[in-house]
């Protein structure tokens, strides 16, 4: 089956000389949820902006459902909906008006019943007559999504959709994205959160410094990268790691006051219980402990930096 998006050798160099993207090749499968990950400034938004027609590419081309986004921009753009990272809204417009505006802008005739359906799905129906400036950040984010869905796109770009939103809205969004996929919509999202990629994505792409480092099935990546850290703050600092703890993936940090235990979150047993027993047997008392799961971004940035540092 033809990929719904084909990105072929796309590069972007700004007038300042900054190279934001270096020859990206990527294919997005029809109906999948694709998560694009990378640190700030990696080129995620630039790539999305090029596909959506907001930024001109310096090189290469993009096809949306086989149509060139420059030559056949009308057909290509009418397939695509975009939820940008920034909450850029017309402050004095009402929710209903701004969502209806988006539908008209994309060439669709007015359809109050459809707009109502979208607003209800996003829990915005009660706010339909409210002006944008009166809405909370989370509500504005919902409106941005409603605007992107207003013209019934078959491809949806979500640029950092859950940045700064509460847990409830994040769950709602995940639910909504899954619902869209069931209706055949292809979703491409950028995110910093491992839970988000883990929860939603079929495939994951990692971009850094304008280069696509890898594209992988999510399941495969999770096995490779789903590591967690347990930080153990010690009552009394240690000079060195006791030899009997050598079997654990441990490191001693912060001048001997903290032990860091790295383990596989997907493994059946984490080894935490055994480690705590061993520490107790050695008489090592704990002041505090906390666990942390590295974000994919952190993991990938460390992966990217490692070869350079060792070089």
């Amino acid at each position: 089956m033809q990929p719904i998006i084909q990105i072929q050798g796309v590069g972007k160099t700004y007038d300042s000389g900054f190279s934001a993207l270096k020859s990206i090749d990527l294919e997005i499968r029809r109906g999948e949820i694709f998560a694009l990950l990378g640190p700030n400034g990696a080129g995620k938004t630039t790539l999305i902006s090029i596909i959506c027609g907001i930024v001109n590419a310096s090189a290469g081309r993009v096809l949306a459902d086989g149509m060139d986004i420059v030559q056949d921009y009308r057909q290509a753009r009418s397939l695509i909906g975009l939820v940008p990272q920034e909450l850029t809204t017309d402050a004095f417009e009402t929710v209903w008006d701004t969502v209806s505006f988006s539908r008209g802008l994309f060439g669709k005739p007015a359809d109050p019943a459809y707009i109502e359906k979208v607003l209800r799905q996003l829990s915005l129906w009660d706010k339909r007559n409210a002006k944008m400036l009166a809405l909370s950040g989370g509500m504005k984010r919902r409106v941005m999504i409603a605007k992107a869905l207003s013209h019934e796109p078959s491809i949806l770009f979500l640029d950092e959709p859950t940045a700064g939103v509460d847990v409830e809205l994040r769950r709602d969004m995940w639910e909504m994205v899954r619902g869209l996929r069931e209706n055949g919509v292809t979703v491409i999202l950028t995110t910093h959160y491992i839970e988000e990629a883990e929860e939603m994505a079929d495939r994951i792409g990692v971009i850094n410094r304008g280069e696509l480092i890898l594209v992988e099935e999510k399941e495969m990546l999770m096995q490779q990268l789903g590591q967690k850290q347990l930080y153990l703050m010690l009552q009394t600092p240690l000079d060195a790691l006791p030899a009997s703890l050598g079997q654990y993936n441990l490191s001693l940090n912060d001048e001997g006051t903290q032990l860091t235990y790295t383990f596989d979150a997907h493994h059946e047993t984490s080894g935490i219980a055994e480690l705590l027993r061993s520490l107790s047997e050695l008489g090592i008392d704990l002041k505090d402990l906390q666990s942390k799961q590295s974000s994919l971004e952190e993991i990938f940035v460390s992966l990217v930096h490692r070869p350079e540092e060792s070089a």
């Binding site: 290509a76 975009l82 505006f101 994309f106 060439g107």
Partner: protein, 253 residues
């Protein structure tokens, strides 16, 4: 042709006008009416006729042109500048609308608003000054042409401006002085040399005189020259807008 897209932009812009009726419509009509009261009725009654036209009637085309130019520029420039400033322009850029359709929406709305204001000023002027229109069709043609041309010019300023100060600098520092010195309040034949010749380099002179000819059948410059100069300026604006969309200048990096 994405007519729904054009309608969406046009309606959005006209809704903005409705929301700010006091500032965008009533205020320019009121301020121009003050000119009619002060220069037309009060001072004008003590002044002689110019080219056989009473002073109060003589200044109507110039004052109308002053409002038309400044309103067309400010409406169109703000219409495109604000989405650029707030970031909402992303939606227009990502939509299946052609440059012509974008222009039809933004410039069409700005020109419509200018025409509404122009009509209101003409009606209001009648309350204070007795005037006639010798060539109503040409008057309408000049009105439409000027509203369209300067709305296009305003669109260019809106794209060019990086901040609110730049947005104001051309209308306030260039257009208003050119209009005041372009024969809005006097016949350029009243000026001594070299000012009379220098005035001919002011493009607004041709707009005002073309318009005045349409009203009273008399002008300092031949009507054909006025029309030609207005069309030249329109073509320059169209070429500049075409270049903006081709290069993405300040709207699409």
């Amino acid at each position: 042709m994405n007519l729904n897209g054009v309608r969406a932009i046009y309606t959005f812009e006209m809704n903005r006008t409705r929301r700010t009726l006091m500032q965008s419509v009533i205020s320019p009509v009121l301020s121009t009416s003050l000119y009619f009261i002060v220069f037309g009725t009060a001072i004008g009654s003590r002044m002689g006729e110019i080219d056989g036209v009473s002073y109060g009637a003589f200044i109507i085309p110039g004052l109308l042109m002053l409002s038309l130019l400044s309103e067309s520029i400010s409406n169109a420039s703000f219409g495109i500048f604000f989405p650029k400033f707030s970031g909402t322009i992303y939606e227009v850029l990502s939509a299946p609308v052609s440059p012509f359709e974008i222009l039809a929406g933004y410039v069409g709305a700005a020109a419509t608003k200018s025409l509404i204001i122009g009509t209101l000023i003409l009606v209001t002027a009648r309350l204070f000054v007795d005037y006639s229109i010798a060539h109503p069709v040409w008057m309408l043609a000049f009105l439409l042409l000027t509203a369209l041309t300067f709305s296009l010019f305003g669109f260019i300023i809106g794209v060019w401006a990086n901040d609110f100060q730049q947005l104001q600098v051309i209308p306030l520092m260039v257009i208003t002085p050119l209009t005041f010195l372009g024969g809005a309040f006097y016949s350029i034949n009243m000026l001594p040399e070299p000012w009379q010749t220098l005035t001919l380099f002011n493009p607004v002179v041709y707009l005002i005189n073309g318009f005045r000819w349409a009203f009273y059948g008399v002008a300092d410059v031949h009507m054909g020259v006025s029309l030609g100069m207005t069309l030249v300026f329109l073509l320059i604006c169209i070429a500049t807008v075409w270049w903006i969309f081709r290069t993405g200048y300040r709207i699409k990096p």
